[in-house]
Every structure is written in C-alpha cells, then in structure tokens.
C-alpha cells in the first residue's frame, strides 16, 4: 500500500506489518511506527492518521470482495501463479508424457462414498493425491475409506457429516485441511437430490448450493496458500435443458454454474481456479438411473435415446474429466463449464 498525502504531498509506503516509510515532498524520508512514532531517518514527523490508514488491513479485499493480488497485499505475485508440475515421466518415444501434476496434492471431495463422488476420489488417489471425503452414512464411508487406502501410500481423511449442517460441514473441511497438511483441490459434489415440493427446494438449496458456498468459504484459506488451488462444482445437464418437470434440482444446479462463474473471477487473483463439470445421465449400480430403469422404463428408454453416443455415462468418465480440470495441468482454465454427457444435450456448444 502506497498513498500520497493529499495535503502535504508526502508518500506513505507500507513496510511490513507495522512500519511505514514516509518520503516528504522535499526529499526527506523517515520510518515510522503506528501513532507516527519516529524510528529512523531525517524526516522526524508524519501524520499518525495516514500511518494508521496505510497499515489498515485488507483494504481491497474488504471493499470489493476480491484482492487485486499486489505482492505487498497478498504476499505473493499477482494473478494465477504457474503451478509446479512435480513428476515427469517419459513415454516410449522418449518424449515427456503429459503429467497432471497431482502427485502429493491434497483433494477434498464431498459425498464420496458412492457413485460419481467415489469415482472422483478414487481417480485422485490413483494419481497420487491424499484425499478427504465425507458422506452422510457411516457404513458406506468406511467402505470407501478402505478402498481408497488400498490404492497406495496416501493419507485418507473421512468423516460422516451432513453437508446441510453448515457449521459441522465447515468444521470437517478445516479439520481435513489440518489432517492432510493443506488442501489444493475442493470438489463440491453433494446434492440434495431431485424431488417435488418446497422441501426439495430447501434441501437442494441447503446441500447443492450452500454446500458449494460454504465449502469454498471454509477451504479458501488453504486453497489460497497453495500454488495450485482449484475448485470444481458438479452440476447437471438438468441445469441446461428442460427435462420434462420443473423442479428445484434443475434450478439449484444452474445456480452452481453462475456462482462458479462469479468465483472464478473473484478468486483468480488469489491463484484459485473455479470450474464446473456438468454430467449428463450417469448409470451405476444403486444410482438413480438404475432405479428409473426399473421403476419408469419409458423414461429411461427416452433418456437413453437422447444419448448421442448410444449409452449413458459411467462415473469413471466424469471422474477423469473432473480430475483433469482440477489438476495443475489445466492451469489456464477457469470459469469453464465442461459438459460430460455423451451428446445428451442438443444445444450448440458455444
């Protein structure tokens, strides 16, 4: 922070937490502590209010909600830093393989005891990440933890928590960051599910929307501290095209896309990227499409016919896209919405 005193013309420059360099208009300078206490230099007198102002915390953050990323404010260079790609491997032709740069990174995935969430956690683990996961049910979570721990030499932090319980959920995230020794990636996957009525609106809001909002809020200190901070929201093609029933799920998944766009701009100067993965119909055992296939075969067939590739997606396919987008290999991509639906939606992809 560097300001000119409008009356005296002296320049006040912040030096560290509690020192201000003052250069008068006639070329003298001095260093002062709060209250304009003189420390050294030929200039003996300065304006205590101006000293206090220059030392006041986080002016830009407080005013605009974003940091401009000046080195003296945020303590690091402006903009998105180029993250280090930590491991290199050579392919058969002797050239370097593309590396996701995930070895040793730390990823947190919500609702990861089954389906897409579990597949994402598994893929991160396979890429050499430490992972933190949560789910509502204790038993599914325990099985997921064992599966992940079996994938190599990695730390796994798992806790049964309801994403809708704001304080408990935020506590889980900060505890996870502490247990893993930091956090590079936050994937917001939890959903209140589809359903009719006002309760579904509330559940979708509490879980899908507020889970993402609170999750980013709680994870942000850790994400800002790393050189590869990255956030992925899992949305749904229900947010993109009409599915035959107006419902909360569709609108809330759309809200996630807008919020990710906002965050991608606001957090870019802090070195944190924010993107969206929008899966189409994903089929897995115990998933909702299996249920629909049995209970409403006509609807299932209709959806299948919509899939241009002739089949529904698998959780692993969504997971690979997510892990790429979250990884340092995607360092230029922020504010993107990557649709993974095998051609289920029909709009032109502008």
């Amino acid at each position: 922070m560097k300001l000119r005193h409008p009356l005296s013309g002296a320049i006040y420059t912040k030096h560290g937490d509690d020192r201000v360099l003052v250069e008068s208009a006639d070329g003298q300078s001095g260093v002062f502590a709060p209250g304009a206490r003189h420390l050294r230099g030929a200039l003996r007198e300065a304006d205590p209010h101006m000293i206090g102002w220059v030392l006041s915390p986080d002016m830009q953050d407080r005013r605009t909600g974003t940091s401009r990323g000046n080195a003296d404010q945020a303590g690091r260079p402006p903009g998105v830093g180029l993250p280090k790609l930590r491991t290199t491997t050579r392919n058969k032709k002797g050239r370097q393989d593309m590396d996701l740069g995930l070895t040793g990174r730390k990823a947190l995935i919500t609702a990861a005891s089954r389906g897409i969430g579990l597949a994402i956690a598994q893929t991160f683990a396979d890429e050499g990440c430490d992972v933190a996961i949560c789910a509502r049910g204790e038993s599914g979570l325990e099985a997921a933890r064992k599966d992940l721990e079996g994938r190599g030499d990695l730390k796994v932090f798992a806790r049964a928590v309801d994403v809708a319980e704001g304080e408990a959920f935020k506590g889980f995230i900060s505890d996870a960051a502490e247990a893993l020794g930091g956090l590079d990636i936050y994937v917001s996957n939890a959903s209140g599910g589809a359903g009719p009525g006002e309760q579904a609106w509330q559940a979708s809001f509490d879980v899908d929307v507020m889970g993402a909002v609170r999750g980013v809020e709680a994870a942000l200190p850790a994400l800002e501290a790393t050189d590869a901070g990255s956030v992925v929201f899992i949305s749904s093609t229900a947010a993109l095209e009409y599915l035959g029933v107006p419902q909360a799920y569709n609108a809330m998944k759309a809200a996630l896309i807008a919020h990710a766009g906002d965050l991608s701009q606001a957090l870019a100067p802090k070195g944190v990227r924010v993107n969206v993965i929008t899966p189409g119909p994903i089929y897995f055992e115990g998933g909702s499409w299996e249920m629909i296939k049995q209970a409403m075969p006509e609807m299932y067939k209709g959806a299948l016919a919509q899939c241009a590739i002739g089949r529904m997606g698998a959780p692993e396919e969504v997971a690979r896209a997510t892990v790429f987008l979250a990884s340092p290999a995607a360092s230029l991509i922020t504010g993107a919405n990557l649709v993974c639906d095998g051609g289920f939606t029909k709009r032109m992809p502008f």
Binding site: L3, R4, P48, P57, R62
Partner: protein, 454 residues
Amino acid sequence: MTSAALPHVEAGHGPRSPGLSYQDLLDADTRPAPEVLRLQAARELPVVRVPIERYTSQAFHELEVEKIWKKVWQFACREDDVPEPGDHETYEIAGMSLLIVRGADRRLRAFHNTCLHRGRALKDHAGRSGELRCPFHGWTWNLEGELQELPCRWDFPHVERERYALPQVQVGVWGGFVFINMDPDCEPLESYLGDLPRHFTRWPLEKRFKEAHVAKIMPCNWKANQEAFMEAYHVVGTHPQLLKGIGDANSQYDAWDNFSRAITANMTPSPHLPDGASEQEQLDSLLSASLDGDPPMRVPEDMTARAFLGQVTRMQLQASVPSVGELTDAELQDSFYYSLFPNFHPWGAYNRIVYRFRPFENRVDRALMEVLYLSPYRGRKPENAKTTWLDIDEPWTNADELGSLANIFAQDSFNLGRVQDGLRGAQHSHVTFANYQETKIRHFHTLLDRHLGA
C-alpha cells in the same frame, strides 16, 4: 497565540464554506433531486461552548440519568429482534435494564427487568420463552406482565396479584425500530419524532434486515464519542486519505426540532485542496488505490466520478431495491447523517448505517458504540446478524462484517481515548464548537440544556 496569527473570518458566503455548495452539486446530478434533499434548515442555536465537566464529571452523568435516560425516547431494539410471542430483548442503559417482550397477543411491551421479590434481573439476555420466570426463586409473570405463579404461595399472604404486575415503560415503533421511554407522562413517540419519518419515506427503514451489528466499548464519554461522528470538519485532520473525493468543508448541516442532519458529498474534491482533483483521483481516494498498482476501477472517459459511482451503486442495489432507477446520484453515494436526540443516528438513503451511543455501565468515561448495517432485501427476509462484541482494547478491524468502514472507525478511535485524557486533565473550562460545521453538536447541546432545565 496572538490574535494576529489567526486570519479574520471572510465574509460574503453566509455562514458556510466558500465555493461549491451541496445544492450546487445536486443541480449537476444526472437525475432531479428529491424534495427531501432540497430542504435546508439552518437555525439559530445559542450554544457555542459547553463546560468540560459534561464529559468528565460523574455527577453530571447522574444528572443525565435522571433528566435524559429516564425521560426521553430511545432506540431499544429492532422490531424483528422480537418477531414472535415470547421473544424478548434486553436493553441496558446507565445501569438500568429493560425487557422488551412480545406478548401472546403479539403486542410489544417493555418492563423493568427486575424481579419484584428480591430484585434479580428476570432475563440475562435475549431469547424466547413462554413466561417471565425469575431464576432465583421462580416467581413467574406471563408475557403481559401479570403475576402468574410464585412458589409456596401460602408464604406470601401479603402479596396481592394486582399490585405485583411488572411495572411497564412506554413503547413506540417507527421504521422497524422499537423505542422505549421510562417516563409515564412522556409525549407520544410520533410527536417526538416530528418530521423525521417524512424524511425517510423514500428509504423505508422498516424494509431492512440487520446485516451486521457490532458493539464496542470506547474509552471516552458517550457524547465525546458520538460528537466525533456528527461533523465532517474532522475529515481534514483524521481521514486525510479521503480528501480528494469528499466535500467535507462544504457539507450541508440542518437542524429541526428533535433531529438534525449532515449531508456530505462524495466524488467532489475537498475545498481544502487548492488544485482540486481529477475524476480518477476522486475515485482512487474513495477506494484507497495504491500508487504502485492499477486502480481497482476506472472512471470512463466521458463520465464524472460522481455519475460513475452513482451508476456502480445503482447496479449493486438493483437486486434489492426495486425503486433504484429513481434514485439520484446523490442518494447512491453521499452521506445523509441523521441524529435523533439523544443518541440515535440512522443514515438516509442506502448507506445502511445506524449508530447508537450510550454510557457503558454507569461510567462517565466509558461509552458503548454500536454500528448496525440495515440492508435492503427482496423476497424472503434474511436472518438478522448476531451482535459482535468488541472489548475496549479490541480493534474495529476484528469485526470482518464491517468491511472497509472498520478502518475508518479505527482512525476515529485513534483520537477518542486521547480526547477523554485531554478533557480529564484540562485546565481550561469549556470546549467550543464551529459555528456552522458543528451545527449538529450545538443542536444536541441546546436540547440537552433544555432537558436539564438550564
């Protein structure tokens, strides 16, 4: 200092600063100014100096308790702090505690927060309960203040139910604020407020929620505390970083019966600066743009900073204020600082700020300063913020919810402890006030004199 060191007062522009007036600025705005901003009410105020003991003497504080705090209407809580039957808030003033309760009939009542048995406070803090039960022996009143139950009734043959109803104090509501008055013979709140509600018809304060509420103990008399906020005269000394973009010395001051107003324009250079400031410099000063970085926002080539900031704020308010298109540039950036005697300070337009100042506990040299942000909303009303308490040594900047304003309060607070020290040790007898720029303070002391019977 010899008299020769002080220049003579210049004549020719009435009691005000030379140069651009606030009314001149309104003429240049992109939309016509509403009538309320065109009102000008300078008035003759007899007080130009007051004795220092008003700020330092415990005896004077006791006098204020009798003549002010027990006699005047004062803001106790927000109506939506107590929305449901059984909801209650406490209001502490000069060692007295009052209880504001919403009855089963949904009416608001206020009681002295004291058990009629042996005096314990009935409620220690806000909450919701079906009845008012003393935690000491269990005497219980219903929400309307009628004695309902006392354990071992047989032991109190001398306690008659009718004579043991909780003593009530007067309650009034305006703008979503609940006011109390301990004087049973007081004038109605409506007449005490006078024209104040009419001033706020364009900016209805009842349609707001409490987005922030911070209370801090300050090391000075409550009047010294609030007077530090009642004029823009201190900007040149205390907030020099703002000068390029603030009309401090050419602020407008008005006084009516029980309330007063200061209007300070933003995005106009201070009359203190001989060379003025460019449009971009005006905006930079508001945003505190560092000399070694890019400005956070740029004023477009063909716009004034004032029109630009008006447009930016208009966009920010679009989601929550349906009438935003009608608001003038002035309403979207200037300070409209109203004060209702003795200690209630709602800001006009959409600045969101409300201040309240009062003695802390029963001390002449401690104040409780409170800052509320009352924000507009659309649709379902968001929940009111909980109060953040800051101790005497805690900086304002600990309250994140205040945003950048906390840094401004930190500058103001840098003076206030030293004001009290200076007054305590002073050898001279009076403090003195500016003729025009300290109109609001002189108005306050004129009313104070009237209440003290001086």
